[in-house]
Symmetry: C2
Subunit: 409 residues, 2 copies
């Protein structure tokens, strides 16, 4: 590389997104880039001229290591979809003026579906206008729902956190005694794809029976079946723990979290209030069975818990960041770097470069055949798929008993 | 010791309660106890005759180590308060018959306030009936609200988890951009005592500004002040993260989580529904400021997260378990073992034996002078107090990428 590289982060934060940033930085420097610029809050920062020189924050190797272990987008994230080129050509001109002014050779965007849409549009515009800047997407999302890649960085760490936390919650539940039993419903992220909810199977092992059931958004949610299974577990064991995706819907297409609204959940301002899927299901079980219930939403915790990162996930996130720079340096543009799995055991994976036009706005769901017939648990195939992605630990650098992060002053 | 020891666990689970159990087991064996029995689900198990020989589960040192790192009560817990002696003398006779049949020399009960009440009553009854069985309480509670002890095992690990998780949540919040900002309210356990909520100060450091405010139950909750501070932070930074105890009350004594009920939160069965403190406060902020909000309840996670245990907490929990056996072996009964702090830095602490009659049913709150005048943050004294308790890490024994626990077959 002879000129400069610019990098941005976009979409929901993860535990691994900064490892990709670190990979972009170190590979760009190794390949001769003069400067590595960071866009603050993604493409919106570039449009506003809010761009930083990464060397201000990364002065030595320890900073790289801290960055790898710092959760959430170090540069700040955004949720901004570029208009179509014909809708606002001026905006595109402005962006390219900025890029030329910064003497940019490669533009790397770390993110999910919307970010790949940005790469697609900017690379199209470069083609139209004869710009030689290369645009490469680097995948990121805990949801694991990007097309054409075996998995996405960030998913492995979230899966490890979900498996571990649910295992701990099961131990908590089994240690307690309530007259009519205790039912715990753990709500996991994933509006349309059940990759994260499926990872609750990781709680199962020689030392733990795992959740009694899990409900993925790929399968229509059956409230009667849910009740029947919960009752059976409560009768047999005195407790039940189930995992449920925030996005489960009935076969009529109605979100379970909206079922509470029907029944009159109204907030302090008289607005109908979505109660949360777990919270609704707990109130349903309490009403039907009289058991004690506990709704647990893993919420932001599951995507920010870098204190329980998967080592393979953090390493791969760094590698794919580096591979994105390499792809640009070797002349690719309008592409995303993906993972292709060679084997499950021993786990082997390599990166490849794919046309971003085939990725943007596509969603990859859990195959129906990786979920049992009843729709209440993932199969061994799912487990074989996810297990390699959670291997190895990368404990935080602890200072004073608390994880240390890299910060912007 | 010449005869047998029996041990039970009671009340809410913690990450450290099994380390105390391990300490009881190893010390009892070292001091010559023939058998160490475990009551399943506390005193209720003893009454039912549901008692196990611990050597069935602990066959070698690795089992001891696994037990130390296994969250929640290994033997099962209960929430059972013994009647007064005059109310049900038969029950007491039954318990003592069981104890004599098992040839028990020392009865160790690991738990919180209710458990100390059990120790008090059983030791009183032994005194009345001339039994030579020794009854000793071993403190345990994440709430840290037991009287006469500097702190309770379990608190340190929960505090470490809360500080770490809130630090990660703050990083997540600061990386995002929303038109009217994003407010995150993290709800922490602690009905009357704010020790856990105060631990959110641990998120603050060179690399993190910490929560913008924290609301402990020791101070009347002022909704206007809460709104004012949230608005200020949102205006200045575009985000705010605050910690709030589940038990905060207005100066009229009304629980904040009940304020939602007034406004018509009704569940699927038409029952008034407590919305949760964080959830109510989020809906309040959204209504007043139009900001995006996120309510996070740390729920069971904060007491079960042995994957992020404090090493000092786990070590001390084992020590105090051992000290409980030693106290009994040296002839003490009707006592609880406590921690007495000698100095903060270097941290030094020793165990002592206290009359359980002075402990049972007393509650230790955060001193008002350890909370700032406004009632929205803890002082440096609080931080000096809590910091030693979260030092050092004791990572889980990972098998296949997930923490391994000791289990009962």
């Amino acid at each position: 590389m002879k000129r400069n590289v610019i990098v941005g982060q976009s979409g929901g934060p993860t535990s691994a997104i900064n490892s990709s940033l670190a990979g972009v930085y170190t590979t760009a420097k190794e390949r001769g880039a003069k400067k590595v610029y960071g866009m603050r809050h993604g493409i919106q920062g570039l449009i506003k001229g809010d761009v930083v020189d990464m060397s201000r924050y990364i002065k030595h190797d320890l900073h790289v290591e801290l960055l790898r272990r710092t959760p959430a987008a170090f540069l700040g994230s955004c949720r901004f979809k570029l208009p179509e080129i014909h809708e606002d050509k001026e905006l595109y001109d402005k962006i390219f003026d900025q890029l030329h002014e910064l003497d940019i050779e490669a533009f790397i965007y770390i993110g999910g579906n919307d970010s790949m849409d940005t790469i697609k549009k900017l690379s199209d515009y470069a083609l139209l206008t004869g710009s030689d800047i290369k645009f490469v997407g680097c995948p990121k999302t805990i949801d694991n729902d990007l097309a054409l890649t075996d998995h996405t960085p960030g998913y492995g760490s979230a899966a490890k956190y979900i498996g571990t936390s649910i295992k701990e919650v099961i131990r908590d539940a089994m240690s307690q005694e309530y007259p009519k039993g205790i039912a715990t419903v753990v709500e996991v992220m994933g509006r349309d794809a059940g990759w994260l909810t499926g990872a609750s199977c990781l709680a199962e092992g020689e030392d733990n029976e795992g959740p009694d059931a899990m409900y993925l958004p790929e399968v229509p949610f059956d409230l009667d079946l849910f009740l029947k299974k919960a009752k059976k577990a409560l009768d047999e064991k005195g407790y039940t723990v189930v995992a449920v995706s925030e996005g489960v819907r009935t076969k009529e297409g109605k979100y379970v979290c909206e079922m509470g609204a029907d029944s009159g959940f109204v907030d302090a301002f008289g607005h109908k209030q979505l109660s949360g899927t777990a919270s609704f299901l707990c109130s349903y079980l309490a009403g039907k069975l009289g058991c004690k219930t506990r709704a647990i939403e893993l919420s932001t915790l599951q995507r920010a818990a870098s204190h329980l990162a998967s080592r393979i996930d953090i390493i791969e996130a760094g590698q794919i960041g580096g591979a994105s720079v390499k792809a640009a340096d070797e002349g690719s543009t309008g592409v995303m770097v993906v993972f292709e799995r060679e084997s499950d055991d021993p786990y082997q994976c390599h990166t490849a470069v794919k046309d971003v036009h085939k990725i943007a706005n596509e969603e990859r769901l859990v195959p129906r055949k990786w979920i049992n017939k009843e729709g209440t648990y993932v199969t061994d195939e799912f487990r074989t798929y996810v297990e390699p992605l959670i291997q190895g630990d990368l404990w935080p650098i602890m200072v004073g008993g608390i994880p240390r992060h890299l910060y912007m002053d």
